[in-house]
């Protein structure tokens, strides 16, 4: 490979797609993130696991500043999100306009779908591309239909969210986030609210996305997804990253007691 092509594809760039550094988050006196640093490489799928209350969802929400944090910085593809450091080393909050612009590049899918109930599926997907990015409606709708085809919901374009199953709504939510052409996708326990028989269709869409090279952070309790799709598994507990590594290593031979106990409890509960 010559130097020019490596610049064009940027796969050899050492700069991570996501760089979170020293994130501290407090709710009152309760410190839920105690200086967490996490880097995610371009095209990497990181699955975050851990017990409830370990801070994994909060960490995810700090990436696009849905949750504010008291210390630390976040950058996506080298661009700061939320805070910049001034010359004196002090953290300065960016203007709302700049934060909004940074959020365009960060897709997030929520546990509770959060589709806009007064819009059809197609309107849900094109709303932000048209109104935030100023993409012409015909082009936005064409892209939306392509994305709907990708998640297997072409026939639902004109349906309202309330007419869809949870799994279908969640796939629309994935399409809606992808319509902004994000550099990274965040998934916050996206299958936790679904009936068991609907979990597979959503995970399949996510697996396809990972295979297509999307950079992803997935907070989940689906250990099989972590094992099969993750490039790296991050285990959080008590507001810190306790252990991380390749899934096969972590599941086969966890290095810390806390991960061992967590996986044992999980296995005990789900053994049939």
């Amino acid at each position: 490979m010559n130097a020019e092509s490596s610049l064009a594809t940027d796969v050899t760039s050492p700069r991570p797609m996501l760089d979170m550094s020293g994130i501290v988050k407090r709710f009152g006196a309760n410190e839920v993130l105690r200086g967490v640093s996490l880097q995610v490489a371009r095209g990497e799928t990181v699955v975050v696991i851990g017990p409830s209350g370990s801070g994994k969802t909060t960490l995810l929400r700090c990436v696009n500043l849905l949750e504010d944090y008291q210390q630390g910085t976040v950058a996506v593809d080298g661009e700061p999100v939320g805070y910049v450091m001034d010359r004196g080393g002090q953290r300065q909050r960016m203007a709302e306009r700049e934060i909004a612009a940074a959020r365009e590049k960060i897709g997030i899918v929520f546990q509770s779908y959060n589709l806009f109930p007064h819009m059809t599926v197609l309107q849900n997907i094109v709303a932000a591309p048209i109104r935030v990015r100023g993409i012409p409606r015909p082009k936005a709708e064409q892209r939306a239909r392509d994305l709907l085809a990708m998640v297997g919901l072409s026939e639902k374009a004109d349906a309202y969210p309330a007419r869809l199953s949870g799994g279908q709504q969640q796939r629309v939510a994935i399409a809606r986030a992808l319509a902004m052409d994000p550099k990274i996708m965040l998934f916050d326990e996206v299958t936790s609210a679904l009936d068991p028989e609907l979990v597979g269709e959503v995970l399949a869409a996510m697996q396809q996305l990972a295979r297509d090279g999307m950079t992803m952070i997935v907070v989940t309790h689906e250990m099989s997804f972590a094992r099969d799709v993750a490039d790296r598994v991050v285990f959080m507990d008590g507001g810190v990253i306790v252990e991380q590594g390749a899934p096969e290593e972590m599941f086969a031979s966890p290095r810390t007691d806390r991960v061992r106990q967590f996986l044992k409890r999980y296995n005990d509960r789900y053994r049939i």
Binding site: R97, N114, H118, A127
Partner: protein
Amino acid sequence: MPIDVHFLARLFPALLEGAEVTVELAVLTMAICVVWGLVVALGQATRGPLGWAAGAYIQIVRNTPLLIQMYIVYFGLSLVGVPLSGFASGLLALCLQNGGYVAEIYRGGLQSVSARQYEAGRALGMRRWTLYRSVILPQVIARVIPPLANQGISITKDTSQVAAIAVMEIMKVAQVWVESSANTYDVFLAVGLIYLVLTSVISVGARVAERQLAFVS
């Protein structure tokens, strides 16, 4: 009691003239309050002096009688050298008070939209105005149509109080006719009937609007 057809034939054109003023007052008040109430509600939702001022405004106008507000506007403004006509004073007082009620209706509507809807919009890069215009307000409006229609009916009836500052709306016209004819029942029954027709138009209009704006949920 025999119905005096000749009396009614003279009464009705006069009442309809008064009804025209009633409709003008009611329609203008509703149109202004739909906008003004939203401004107050959005102001109240902010932190700081603006939110405090909006909250104080709502408390004061809702918790004092319309008649007193009207007297203050009508007589008070002329005392300080800004005399307004009876019609303008009545309209201003109606808008002041009902603006407070309508703001509360919007506040309820705004609170009924889940915080997750705001998050979903913000996460897509929407800034405040885009978020409100395309995500929040359409949901709010669909939900506030029934209480707004209710308020519209209340406004229509409240316009009768403007008679107290000598505006020749339907109630004042009726009072004049009662005094000159002593035919109390015929006049007030006719007036009641006309109010019923006016408020029924609002009810039916609201039903239609509700159906138009309803989304499957």
